[in-house]
């Protein structure tokens, strides 16, 4: 990740920008490999060097091993369900612990739709926030505002859920859902009984939760756009918005897409808050007012109470599906962000 960056305009601007002392100064990473080859080296010090290196390598191996263990555990535990239901697990809508017949489609649907609702709300807001913070905001206000956004990321999921149950869901039921039903009811997305709890509530909660991560990574990406690009646009007489559109957003678009996908990955795996507000009913309904269920919530709700081996196995397979989806999504996003900033994803609080 910190391989020698090409001496391009991008790395030059990162040195100037406020990211502070750039970690990847050209050439630095190569020098790190120079271990002094002292001729006077005693046997003990050679041994100590090798021992130290082995020790820290062992830690790294443990990390890789943990991920391997997660994967192995999921596959071996879900073996029963994998062999019994095969591919049909992904497309069946039945979830019946009594008859031991399991299909995960309602959960996959719930996971995708609630996260999609979250993205629709969160993406414009977090892009706007990122642009405001990097391009418009006065320096003093910037520190405060970015701290506030970070604090939003620090609120535990279960507290979002608590707030969702007692504040957000009643608010949606009394004010938002009747309004949506009246104005947008014709689309079919906002019809049916108004519980407050349901896909819409889950989407709104998730949106609040993924706002910080999308906006902070977008900020990193926007900052990585070379200053010369902006200056060129301004010099040609562009207004500030035209400059942002033509040089900043255009250059940063794949990184911004990466930030959005990373937020999506976070939304897929979110458990507590969603479980507390989504209504937990394994159904596929067109209306966003209707209760739903996600992969993570079904695991949270049923895992300790699973009775038969097949039930347990099916829940583990649900976890495997979730793991696979988040893995693909995160890898894709990491690649996109990395292509712009060379290593930014790890630099965010969220």
């Amino acid at each position: 990740m910190y391989t020698v960056p090409k001496p391009s305009a991008a790395s030059g601007s990162r040195l100037n920008s406020e990211t502070g002392p750039a970690i990847s100064e050209p050439g630095e990473s190569k020098e790190l490999n120079i271990v002094p080859k002292s001729r006077l080296r005693t046997k003990e010090s050679l041994f100590a060097d090798v021992a130290f290196r082995s020790l820290v390598s062992l830690c790294a191996v443990a990390l890789v091993g943990t991920v391997g263990l997660i994967l192995f555990g999921l596959i071996s535990q879900s073996h029963l369900s994998l062999s019994k239901f095969g591919f049909s697990f992904l497309i069946k809508t039945i979830w019946d612990p009594v008859e031991e017949n399991f299909g995960a489609l309602p959960f996959i649907y719930g996971t995708l739709v609630s996260s999609l609702v979250a993205l629709i709300i969160a993406v414009p807001l977090s892009l706007g926030t990122a642009l405001f913070l990097t391009e418009i905001c006065p320096r003093r206000l910037r520190a405060v505002l970015s701290l506030l956004v970070e604090l939003l990321a620090a609120i535990p999921s279960v507290i979002y859920g608590l707030w969702g149950i007692f504040v957000l869901a009643p608010f949606l039921r009394v004010y938002v859902e009747p309004f949506l039903a009246k104005t947008l009811g014709w689309t079919g997305l906002f019809t049916g009984p108004k519980y407050g709890f349901g896909m819409l509530a889950a989407g709104v909660i998730l949106a609040i939760m993924i706002l910080p991560i999308i906006s902070s990574i977008t900020r990193e990406v926007i900052r990585a756009v070379p200053r010369q690009q902006r200056e060129a646009a301004l010099a040609l007489g562009a207004t500030r918005w035209e400059m942002l559109r033509m040089s900043v957003l255009r250059n940063a678009r794949s990184g911004i897409l990466g930030a959005v996908i990373l937020g999506l990955g976070r939304a897929f795996g979110e458990t507590m808050a969603v479980t507390m507000v989504i209504g937990n009913r394994p159904e596929i309904a067109k209306s966003l007012f209707a209760p739903g269920y996600t992969l993570a919530s079904v695991i949270a709700n049923e895992f300790t109470e699973a009775v038969g081996d097949t039930h347990l196995s099916a829940l583990t397979e649900a976890a495997l599906v979730l793991f696979a989806i988040t893995l693909v999504v995160n890898a894709l996003a990491g690649l996109l962000v990395w292509s712009i900033t060379r290593g930014a994803p790890s630099r965010t609080l969220a």
């Binding site: 020098e31 830690c59 706007g128 942002l244 507390m276």
Partner: protein, 288 residues
């Protein structure tokens, strides 16, 4: 960014510029609203029951007045302590590996894996800890919960440690080598102490992340209505208790849940603000 100098800009361009910049400002304002709403609600509903007994007593059965969450607070602390015992050494070790020996293919593999682990949903990590510890022990335990939380700490600490170690100026290392100090000794006595404030903040960052985690504890630590000080017994934890109480149909339970939320959020916010404050002036300025 300089403001527009020229006056003869077409009104349409001027309008779209104003609209766009206004929209961004509005977005930033809207984003801060939920934070204040949530904080205000937690304080408003949690404060009334924030009494001394909340910190000293264990939960009473529903219907009885009083009771506190002393066991959950202590349980959370013990979970964090044991999790740190797992996560901090492995995280720092991996970070050192990445910074000092990881400029190659293996380093990239480890880096990628750390990012993967960081993205694994916490409930899936909980399941792994369940399969590893609970299944072999045959009962829920504090240890199992700590393993889950410890695993979550590793990628956070290792990636931040790597970054702060890489920020230690190269000449410092070279000076040590020039004195004939072997590489391991340079790392331990020169590089790590130089970066120590950054490493400490990375640990606090990891704390803030896992202190509020509920999902990985549901089928590992499980929760407990009484005191538990043993490693291999189920234990109460603050976030778990909030969840259990929030979904109970009793007003009194909800009250306790809000108070617990207030305590938890205060601890976490303080950690994050201190983290920011230290990060703003220490080694890892720019890393956050």
């Amino acid at each position: 960014m300089p403001n527009l100098p020229s006056r003869n800009i077409h009104w349409r361009r001027r309008l779209s510029n104003g609209l766009a910049l206004g929209a961004f400002t509005l977005a930033a304002l809207i984003v801060t609203v939920p934070l204040f709403l949530i904080l205000a609600t937690v304080v408003y509903r949690g404060l009334p029951a924030l009494t001394w007994s909340f910190f000293t007593q264990i939960p009473k059965p529903m219907g009885e007045i009083g009771g506190g969450m002393a066991n959950a607070i202590v349980g959370s602390m013990m979970l964090l302590a044991v999790a740190s015992g797992i996560g901090i050494p492995l995280g720092i070790g991996t970070g050192v590996f990445l910074a000092e020996y990881g400029r190659n293919k293996w380093g990239n593999i480890v880096r990628f894996t750390a990012d993967v682990l960081n993205g694994v949903p916490s409930i899936v990590i909980g399941m792994t800890a369940w399969a590893l510890v609970v299944v072999t022990q045959r009962h829920f335990s504090l240890l199992a919960g700590s393993v889950a939380l410890g695993i979550m700490m590793i990628p956070i600490i290792s990636r931040t440690t790597e970054e702060v170690l890489l920020m230690v100026p190269q000449p410092i290392r070279e000076a040590a080598w020039g004195l004939g100090i072997p590489h391991w000794r340079t790392t331990l006595s020169v590089v790590i102490p130089t970066a120590s404030s950054g490493i400490v903040t990375s640990i606090m960052l990891a704390f803030a992340r896992i202190a509020g985690e509920t999902a990985p504890l549901m089928f590992t630590a499980f929760g407990n209505a009484f005191w538990n000080m043993k490693l291999n017994e189920p234990t109460a934890a603050l976030p778990l208790q909030i969840y259990r109480y929030a979904i109970m149909p009793y007003e009194q339970a909800h009250q306790q849940a809000w108070t617990a939320a207030l305590v938890l959020i205060t601890i976490i916010m303080l950690t994050v603000i201190v983290f920011r404050w230290v990060a703003g002036r220490g080694m890892i300025k720019g890393a956050v």
